[in-house]
């Protein structure tokens, strides 16, 4: 069972992640994007962006880095081999573009138990170097209880 006392716990800001063009292209190809703003710098600039635009779910890369600190936290007591992804949402204040340097702060929004299972919801706020909020990733993990 996930420790309910971690509800409200805020984890330290992650180190900056530099969004690279080739990482955006790699991610775009992996999710079958053919959208030129993800792949072609000139197309992205013609559409008004400074550089390649990351696909809508790219923020998961940043969220993943934040999640590591929770999964490694003995207080939270999450058995990763029993984790199933329940739901996921991304709210964008602006698009992530190549050249962005992003940090994130993860907060445990809620811990609920559902029979033998636990459901833990995280909010990951993603900021640029100006400390402006770029995107919020909200993720619920279901941790299956033991037999």
């Amino acid at each position: 069972m996930v420790n309910p006392n971690v509800q409200g716990k805020k984890y330290p800001e992650t180190s900056p992640y530099l969004v690279g063009r080739e990482k955006i292209r790699e991610f775009a190809n992996a999710v079958f994007s053919t959208n030129p703003v993800n792949l072609d710098v000139f197309a992205a600039q013609a559409a008004g962006y400074t550089d390649l635009v990351a696909p809508p779910t790219f923020a998961v890369v940043i969220q993943e880095r934040s999640l590591h600190s929770v999964l490694a936290d003995p207080e939270a007591d999450i058995d990763f081999s029993r984790v199933v992804h329940g739901d996921q949402r991304f709210i964008a204040n602006r698009a992530i573009v190549a050249g962005d340097e992003l940090t994130s702060v993860l907060t445990v929004a809620s811990v609920k138990s559902l029979g033998a299972h636990s459901m833990i919801t995280f909010n990951t706020e993603i900021f640029d170097t100006n400390k402006e909020l770029v995107s919020t990733a909200i993720s619920t993990l279901v941790v299956r209880g033991g037999e």
């Binding site: 991610f27 959208n35 998961v60 964008a92 698009a95 909200i138």
Partner: protein
């Protein structure tokens, strides 16, 4: 495209995604999610699964492409959420086909946004629930 020309219920497009083990390895590398349930049958079985399954985030990231293709600019997707209702098993030999369709769920003329409702299925079973992408006009 003029927001005034759109209607709720209107279909905006459809795509079929072929997930193979190669797709899963590519997505693992691109996303940094190296959970072995997405590439090792022996490991998947050891944790009680029938076999290797696709990353939920691969299904989510692919499904939204139907909305992106329609609007033409991925940066216009300002809010996107899904529930993962069923796993997509990806056999090593045959792979899996995920069929995604999108239609207009709501139109907000004041904020100039359109909600696209997506359905995603594999072997006729819905694999995403409440998959909604809000697009800025």
């Amino acid at each position: 495209m003029d927001i005034l020309s759109l209607e709720v219920g209107q279909e905006i497009g459809s795509r079929t995604f072929s997930f193979t083990r190669d797709s899963l390895v590519k997505y693992a590398g691109a996303s940094g999610d190296f959970n072995p349930i997405h590439y090792r049958d022996d490991f998947a079985k050891s944790v009680g699964l029938d076999g290797v399954l696709a990353h939920g985030m691969l299904t989510m990231g692919s499904a939204v492409q139907v909305a992106v293709d329609w609007i033409g600019d991925s940066g216009k997707v300002i809010d996107y959420g899904v529930r993962f209702t069923k796993p997509v098993f990806v056999p090593a030999d045959s792979g899996a086909q995920v069929i995604v369709t999108g239609k207009i769920g709501a139109i907000d003329l004041e904020n100039k946004t359109v909600r696209v409702d997506l359905t995603a299925s594999c072997l006729d079973i819905a694999v995403l629930g409440k998959a909604q992408a809000v697009v800025k006009f």
